[in-house]
Symmetry: C2
Subunit: 738 residues, 2 copies
């Protein structure tokens, strides 16, 4: 849809203009700039053409009622939906009386560049108006990592004509109609009531959730006229030949001093100036890449996709601060802007090893919602905390409980993220203030929900695991193993310890494979794969999906990745082969996990394929993947596939282990990570691996052997050649082999 140019190492370049609305939506997501606190979709400077407007402030949401055809006890009655905030981006241009609109006239050149090291979106346009005026336009947009509430645009235009710029802050922009897809967002129209307006500031409040938001703006450059009203602030300037200015705007919506905060942040940014904002941005990203970059010599496309993904993971998490990290980051309104389990299970692991400061914050956000999770547990007649399947501010917002509330594993996913973060960071203060309580409260739920049968085996019945093509199953292996970890870490009492050790791990003796959940391998097979059937959930009733052996996304395979020491190598091989044939990857969460286990089992080219699927999912999508926001977990998935897959990183029990290997199509592979303040870089070639410590001291295992390195040291090990095992001989689902 978007015309993304050939792969370049550090930039993503769009050549030409999207040809339709879907293409615009896709490009707006790809070119979104965000810092975790605020996010600007990559809309053009001028309001039209546009796919979907989008200015997102983390946790600026509206409340909506949920109504059910047939409700049940404790079905959530309200949900939260991210709203499109007052938008500081629009810059309208008039050239000799003609509106600058790329749907008219002739577009001679249109190029947008997302620079992953500069942290900027640059746009260059050459356009001839219907009246024949040649126009050159250039803009640079930045959302500051250092100044969480600040965004800025440098805008310049040249043409041999009278030029007029109307630069706006726009409120309640028109929204496209909602898509007919359960993963899409509801549309919130007319979200705001005006509270206050001044020549430099608009203040609004959401109607039901009552959140006040202030946006302060200034224009640095020529003199301009300002017209302001309740729902618009417009700065106008005119000139002949050229106009250039910097637009700097800042938001306030947390706490009680929104106006003062927005104005102060804007003023500080304006005093620093646009060039300094760029310089800060570059320094911030240099620091990030120093510990996060991965290099993949030999696959330029995936190289670009992996960096693009890491950049967006950072954009989603960096300054999320006291708020959650939504599944779409701040790039779109998909999933209503909710955070789901992929935050803890996909995004936080990557940030734990690359940018750990924001992981503690993200988990403190979870902790801040603990009272709501306790209340939900009470409502469900459970103990401890029952964290929501999807939410913005803490309440359960899931409207289909078999694939929502029933996915109790969210509790264990949070505990696992806490354990990982603590092991990798050594942040004991966090544990005392939040982590220990999170682990204890999540564990209490498992102690209550599990029961012992008369043979002394513990069971967890009627829950849904990661695979959403089955639901309400007994003894989901992933859930049980993660609950075991959660219970062990909490060490609540003797009973919970007893349960932890005795939780069932269903195994099919006949087929010699684990059952994803009890009885799964005895279900009917899914026989009717057809290309046009994907994703299956949009073409088949759950009745049909749930009762068959068809797997939406890695579930048992994820258990084998995160709880690898609970399986023998032979079990992993047999299980992987069995589930490969039945996994249709209708979720973007699947490929990264399959990549990791494929790499562990020596299916290196297959792992490479799955890495590519994750890395290119949104960036080079065939369809409109990511139009309503990028798949941030899939963005994280590229790192997971490389570092956990080819790097063999495992952290079970708080110990760092690496088992590097390289797939045939790569010449050299390098990744970096942080571990308790130390920085480690790992360079892998077919023959050897070199570990270099840039700062601090580190101890880890290399293929099981302990390695200790001090700051500045490096060590090289020869690698035994690993035969690239072909993909398992069982056929993968037709249409899902590639």
């Amino acid at each position: 849809m978007s015309r993304i140019g050939p792969a370049e190492p550090w930039v993503v370049r769009e050549i030409g203009l999207p040809s339709d609305d879907a293409g615009h939506r896709q490009a707006e997501s790809l070119f979104a700039l965000a810092n975790g606190h605020i996010g600007l979709r990559g809309n053009l400077d001028e309001p039209q053409p546009s796919g979907m407007p989008g200015t997102f402030l983390n946790s600026l949401y509206e409340v909506r009622d949920l109504t059910y055809p047939e409700a049940g006890f404790a079905f959530p009655e309200r949900t939260e939906t991210v709203v499109n905030a007052p938008n500081g981006k629009p810059i309208n241009l008039t050239v000799g009386g003609e509106t600058f609109d790329l749907r008219t006239g002739e577009v001679r050149r249109h190029e947008r560049v997302l620079d992953l090291r500069a942290g900027t979106l640059t746009r260059e346009v050459e356009w001839v108006s219907p009246g024949g005026v040649e126009v050159r336009l250039r803009s640079v947009r930045v959302v500051s990592f250092e100044r969480p509430s600040v965004a800025a645009i440098r805008y310049s235009v040249e043409a041999d004509a009278e030029l007029r710029v109307d630069s706006d802050v726009a409120v309640d922009e028109a929204q496209p109609p909602p898509r007919d897809d359960p993963r899409a967002s509801a549309v919130i129209e007319d979200a705001f009531v005006p509270v206050f307006h001044d020549r430099d500031l608009l203040v609004h409040r959401t109607r039901r959730s009552g959140i006040t938001v202030a946006v302060a703006v200034t224009h640095l450059g020529p003199e301009g006229e300002i017209v302001t009203g309740p729902d618009r602030l417009r700065w106008t300037t005119t000139a002949h030949g050229s106009i250039a200015f910097d637009k700097i705007f800042a938001y306030g919506w947390d706490g009680l001093d929104q106006r003062d905060k927005a104005r102060a942040d804007r003023d500080a940014a304006a005093r620093a100036g646009f060039d300094e904002l760029l310089a800060e941005q570059r320094r911030y990203l240099d620091d990030f890449w120093a510990y996060a970059d991965i290099e993949l010599d030999g696959d330029e496309l995936v190289q670009q996709g992996a960096r693009f993904g890491l950049f967006h993971v950072l954009q989603a998490g960096a300054q999320a601060g006291p708020h959650p990290i939504p599944s779409k980051g701040l790039t779109g309104n998909g999933y209503d802007g909710h955070t789901l389990w992929d935050n803890e299970s996909y995004v936080l692991p990557v940030l734990t090893y690359t940018h750990p400061a924001c992981v503690g914050q993200a988990l403190r956000w979870r902790h801040s919602t603990l009272d709501q999770a306790r209340e939900r547990a009470r409502e469900l007649k459970l103990d401890g905390a029952a964290f929501p399947w999807r939410t913005i501010s803490g309440p359960e917002c899931s409207g289909y409980w078999p694939a929502g509330t029933a996915a109790l594993h969210i509790n264990a996913d949070i505990a696992d993220a806490v354990l990982r973060y603590h092991a990798a960071s050594g942040d004991d203060v966090f544990m005392r203030e939040a982590g220990d309580e999170l682990i204890a409260e999540t564990a209490k739920l498992w102690r209550k929900v599990a029961y012992l049968d008369e043979e002394g085996v513990a069971h967890i019945a009627g829950v849904t695991g990661p695979d959403e093509y089955t639901a309400l199953m007994d003894d989901n292996v992933f859930t049980n193993l993660m609950a075991r970890r959660n219970l062990r870490a909490a060490a609540l009492d003797e009973v919970s310890g007893h349960i932890a050790e005795r939780l069932a791990v269903p195994y099919d003796e006949r087929r010699q494979v684990h059952e994803q959940s009890a009885g799964f391998t005895r279900l009917d097979e899914w026989k009717s794969f057809a290309d046009e059937d994907y994703p299956l959930m949009l073409h088949h009733h759950y009745l049909n999906l749930y009762r068959k052996q068809v797997v939406k996304q890695a579930d048992l395979v994820l258990a084998m990745v995160l709880c690898g020491d609970e399986f023998t190598l032979d079990e992993k091989r047999r299980n992987f082969e069995y589930y490969e044939a039945r996994t249709v990857r209708d979720s973007s969460l699947s490929a990264p996990v399959q990549a990791v286990l494929a790499a562990e089992l020596g299916h290196l080219s297959l792992a490479h394929d799955y890495l590519a699927e994750a890395a290119l999912l949104d960036l080079r999508a065939g369809g409109e993947s990511g139009g309503d926001g990028l798949h941030i977990a899939a963005c994280a998935g590229a790192w997971i596939a490389v570092v956990m897959g080819f790097g063999g990183l495992r952290d079970t029990g708080g110990r760092l282990s690496l088992s590097p290997r390289i797939p045939p199509r790569l010449n050299r592979l390098r990744f970096r990570l942080r571990w308790r303040g130390a920085g480690l870089s790992v360079t892998v070639t077919p023959e050897k691996v070199t570990y270099q410590v840039s700062s601090g001291g580190i101890e880890f295992r290399h293929y099981g052997d302990v390695v200790s390195l001090n700051e500045g040291e490096e060590v090289t090990f020869k690698l035994d050649p690993i035969d690239d095992r072909p993909a398992p001989p069982t056929p993968r689902p037709p249409g899902r082999a590639e």
Copy 2:
């Protein structure tokens, strides 16, 4: 709530007036008159006080959109809801300028009598107005069984004052707000647009479903003035001292000639006159009771309740004709006026043996919806027909699929009803025209949905059985055994025959009981019974209910009743004991079935208790049971408990078997039934049973021995004494023992 007087054999008498809205709602249901085609709730003659208005025409419904917080593929997007039709009941009275309103003045006497042999509701009132005028009012209401579209009211009033009667047809009456209960109906306000009005007729059309309804009215008696408008027709008469008249009204809403039909039916009824309507009604009911009555000497309360139930079963089914029989009959709008599986599994069996003519009609209605069921099967990627869990005109209207679409057993329930009707009636024409196709199309679904494992065992996975406190289970015994019967009857081909014989019947070897569904007996026990927790579904999330061994309603026990020859007596005993301890009877469908198996196993007093529960559920409810319509299946349940329970009637394989017994608290028990045109009466005492044939010849089994009797013959057998076995020693759920 309603002040129902002491039990009388053939009437239900209310003494005094309900004291609140809930009491009015309850009484309006109890005193509803209906014939299956039209139904009038037992509202007072004057519009107020009132609980809920209700004039129901079978299959006069409006369409509503169903919206889901998170929709899935093939979730129904529309539903149907019964609407309150233009109401011919209201008669306003003014006495010396004062409105006759029983909430004012002094009510000296208020009595309503539902006469189960006359088929009338009679009301007698003595009231003193606030101004001191003494008023005597009497009304008799009838909904004609012989004239399906006709209702009539005989009204007389006496007082020493100027009297004024305004007799209305009222459209779009105000509705009470909806109750917060998933079993309640949606409220359809402003359902009608006016089409036409004349001095004797109103014609309206529903807004979305576009159903035209005409009501024609006439008043026989004194002269009156008529005022009519789009939404009201009012006949007014005045006199001093007394007024008496008959109001006769008729509806037309089927076919294209609604006006002519309503007028013609009204005119024919008016020509016959009110007395003749009463005489017809009495003849119709005499015929009914001759083959349907049950006599229970020694329990006057249950005697009354059982006859009350049978009367309402007849009222629900008699003239349902080309339309379905809703779960609430035409007594209220509960369940949105939908028909569910209890029609085929509870109501039709009773009518099959008591009033078979309307069973063929009811099953022909199912047949008329076959194309919709085929389309639904296609949508679900199944074969044959997938009949809807709940509907009025045929489409699936279930908005919670785990306890709706997943309950595939509805298909087998329909097939079973066809087989029973054919066996009992010998109606081969019906089979050729509808029955054979129903059996074949329902069976095709089972052939598709069942699969064979590598051991050659057939399974049906991911379905919901009768017990709605579990869902999406594998190999529900009831479903599998009923599917087996369906497949055997259809005899589609070798494959389906193979599947039928090999369908799994899960059995727990350790506990020596059948599993309601695979794995059920290994689930956690429900430990926290508390009185205030019932019904559990209104106090516990399904997450909690589904994962535990708590049973809403007879499920495996129903399988043992309907498919008794699939179980040994020992299995039945052990299973019954096991499931008694876990069945909370939160559905009115439970007690009748438990009564039958309890009686079979010799728990005669327990069976009597369950019979009483079914017979008295709505009639002598502690709470507001039945306020939005009677539980017609529970009404049928009294007959089921008596005839299948104490009579031991079984009809497996199309053979009639009886094994009569009598519980200790009864002196004598008599029931009647029809079998292939013959009429059989069965009289049971503790010592003996006497079979008498009133018409036709009949062959049946008495405790396994073949008995053949011709018209007018009778035979008496001594009965071996049956020890009344106490209830199973396992405790029944606390709060659910009585």
